[in-house]
């Protein structure tokens, strides 16, 4: 049997097992369903709720007033861990416009390589409900930058902190027409596969640091 015949056979079988209804009726049935609940936010202040949930995942955070302070915060974070301040960033225009010199940070724009210690991404949104950063993948935020370095620093604008997970789908940047994927990052890479002991830094970054920029 050819692959096309197998597909036709499987599709016919599933269609035969499905209810007879047209697309409009199915949509109307779907819309009539009770929408599923959402988590209680730990604070009515979205940034506060975000930061509390990030801490639960083992991520650190800072809230700064502007881009200059953000660079200083990054510089301080990197200086505590490394002797040099080289970082890799995607081609996001907001990252290109950061006043890097203010903090002596040396960015390289492009995708991370195995030896890169620190990557910086700019999230399209942060979700307070779960403490997650929504990062659409692409030239602005290559996936490898989220995964290969040891430290991952993610910037997000305070106005982009949203309450609930569904808010991700209101962003044009996250639509399939715009990006091949969206990553929701909620903490550093971790595993408990050896004797149920939690170890941070399994295959991805060993640390996630989030900087919320107020303006």
């Amino acid at each position: 049997m050819t692959p096309e015949e197998i597909e036709r056979q499987m599709m016919a079988r599933i269609r035969g097992l499905s209810a007879r209804a047209n697309a409009a009726d199915i949509r109307s049935e779907l819309d009539s369903l009770q929408s599923c609940g959402r988590a209680r936010l730990p604070s009515s202040d979205l940034v506060e709720a975000l930061c509390q949930n990030l801490s639960l995942h083992g991520a650190s955070h800072a809230v700064v007033s502007d881009r200059s302070e953000a660079v200083l915060a990054m510089s301080g974070y990197i200086a505590e861990r490394y002797s040099q301040r080289r970082v890799v960033c995607g081609y996001d225009a907001r990252l290109a416009a950061m006043p890097w010199r203010d903090g002596g940070v040396l960015p390289r724009f492009g995708s991370a390589e195995s030896g890169d210690a620190v990557a910086i991404s700019y999230a399209s949104a942060a979700i307070a409900e779960t403490g997650s950063l929504a990062i659409p993948l692409g030239r602005d935020n290559p996936a490898v930058n989220n995964l290969l370095p040891v430290d991952h620093i993610v910037l997000v604008n305070e106005r982009d902190v949203r309450a609930y997970l569904e808010d991700v789908w209101t962003l044009d940047a996250c639509a399939p027409e715009q990006t091949r994927g969206v990553m929701l990052i909620s903490g550093p890479s971790s595993t408990a596969d050896i004797a149920m002991e939690l170890v941070v830094g399994a295959h991805g970054p060993q640390a996630l640091h989030v900087i919320v920029i107020a303006a």
């Binding site: 030239r139 595993t191 970054p205």
Partner: protein
């Protein structure tokens, strides 16, 4: 597989005797239910979480009722997004598709994220037989691949390995000279270093899918280690092996599922990496696969959909039922001898194989109901297990002695007066046997059960008999 009850019991007895290797399991049985409870309290409490489980179940039932519509919508959207979609009726067809994709990509090295579907089809063996180097990258799966063993839990595959086992394994398998590897962190670091090479040089990445989104063509991937995302983004070709029951109508429904999934598994609000992938790299992208393939497997699922067991297709593979099951905790995952152990596996395995091959599994249940209480998809697991047992009885799969006993029992309970007389006599006898100590230590036909526990002696009268006596006295007293 451990088809017969005798084989299951033998494997379970070995697991019980091996207290060294059951330590992790006991820890999991304590920690994860606690973590789940804390997460649900933070979410808004049991009532709120249960309401969400009910609402999500309605959504899954809707998706299942219109599966043909949503499958067509997903396939069309995935192709529009630039993906290739293949269909496989059984394990061999899935393995053949993936091998053809690897050959087409001139692949030599393949990396895999954790995928129950490819465990089910035995994909690794098929690829390795064709000369490909296959590397499992989930840490637990990697440990088991190095050890040549099978998973014992769907979320924590190497649960049966102690820290000392893994240390010894790494020292034996990895020619890295002298090192102590005393801590879990040191072992994780070693695996990270070795697997990084595989991630960077693999030609094909293979992952599973937690859900397929019909309206957008997305595939949802949930991990804590980040290995699945490395598999999805570094190699030039990505293959997503999945089954048709993973379909959800809208992207927002994926978010609803996520609220249930990690909380039920590890107690996290969301796993560290939750990714929605829709297609290959776009023309301006600087990374990502240039080809994305979906292989959609049936392997009996359409038969399950046509049966009274279709609710089993709602399973999210979270592992909560395993974490709360007294049989799983006692017998361990390997006693089930299936890719899918625990309560969900005891229902699914006979449906994927046959009632004969998996004869023991529907009986590996105390009917305590904990699995149903914690299942995020609200699957009535004890009821489905009972139905499978009933089917085993009617199709004469159960042992003849067992069926004869059940027939006798059924005959008796259908005659209430005789039932009361027989059980009343038995209760009086047992009361006399345990009169001195308050417990019974020896009883015909229950030797095995009483070796590790005492049976409290029953009251002199059964509840019904005492109730009837009381009613009689009351009616006599009420007469003028």
């Amino acid at each position: 597989m451990n088809g017969s009850g005798v084989e299951f019991q033998r494997a379970a007895a070995e697991a019980i005797a091996d207290t060294t290797h059951s330590a992790n399991r006991e820890q999991l049985g304590r920690k994860l239910p606690e973590a789940r409870k804390e997460a649900i309290d933070a979410f808004g409490g049991d009532a709120t979480f249960d309401a969400m489980r009910r609402d999500f179940k309605q959504l899954r039932e809707h998706a299942q009722r219109h599966l043909g519509h949503y499958l067509e919508q997903f396939v069309a959207k995935a192709r529009e997004n630039g993906c290739q979609v293949h269909f496989a009726r059984d394990s061999d067809e899935l393995n053949r598709h993936v091998l053809d994709i690897c050959i087409g990509a001139k692949a030599e090295r393949v990396i895999k994220g954790k995928s129950m579907v490819t465990e089910e089809t035995g994909l690794n063996v098929a690829l390795e037989d064709a000369g490909l180097a296959v590397r499992e990258t989930d840490l637990g799966e990697y440990i088991l691949q190095e050890a040549g063993e099978k998973p014992s839990h769907i979320v924590a595959p190497a649960l049966h390995k102690t820290k000392a086992d893994i240390r010894e394994l790494f020292l034996r398998q990895h020619a890295l000279g002298e090192r102590d590897l005393e801590s879990s962190a040191a072992m994780v670091a070693e695996a990270r270093r070795l697997l990084r090479e595989d991630f960077l040089h693999a030609d094909v990445g293979i992952i599973g899918s937690n859900a397929l989104i019909a309206e957008t063509g997305h595939s949802l991937l949930v991990t804590n280690e980040g290995n699945g995302d490395l598999c999805a983004n570094l190699p030039d070709t990505l293959v997503i092996c999945t089954t048709l029951d993973r379909l959800l109508p809208r992207a927002s429904d994926g978010m609803a599922m996520l609220r249930l999934l990690a909380r039920s598994t590890t107690g996290q609000a969301l796993s560290c990496y939750t990714s929605f992938y829709s297609g290959p790299r776009k023309h301006h992208d600087v990374d990502g696969p240039t080809a994305v393939h979906f292989v959609i497997l049936d392997n009996q699922r359409s038969d399950i959909l046509a049966s009274d067991y279709r609710e089993m297709l709602h399973c999210l593979r979270c592992g909560a039922c395993l974490n709360h099951c007294p049989i799983y905790m006692t017998a361990g995952g390997h006693a089930y001898d299936s890719v899918y152990p625990g309560p969900m596996g005891s229902v699914l395995t006979p449906l994927l194989t046959s009632l004969e091959e998996a004869e023991a599994l529907p009986n590996a249940c105390t009917a305590c109901g904990r699995c149903e209480e914690v299942c995020p998809a609200n699957i009535p697991l004890p009821g489905l297990l009972r139905d499978l047992r009933a089917e085993q009885f009617t199709t004469r799969v159960s042992p003849a002695r067992w069926r004869a006993g059940l027939k006798l029992h059924a005959w008796l309970v259908l005659r209430p007066r005789l039932y009361r007389a027989v059980t009343g006599a038995a209760v009086r006898l047992m009361h006399r046997l345990g009169r001195k100590r308050g417990v019974i230590r020896h009883l015909p036909f229950a030797g095995g059960w009483l070796t590790a526990r005492d049976l409290p002696a029953p009251a002199k009268q059964s509840f019904l008999s005492a109730y009837l006596d009381q009613q009689r006295k009351a009616s006599r007293g009420a007469k003028p």
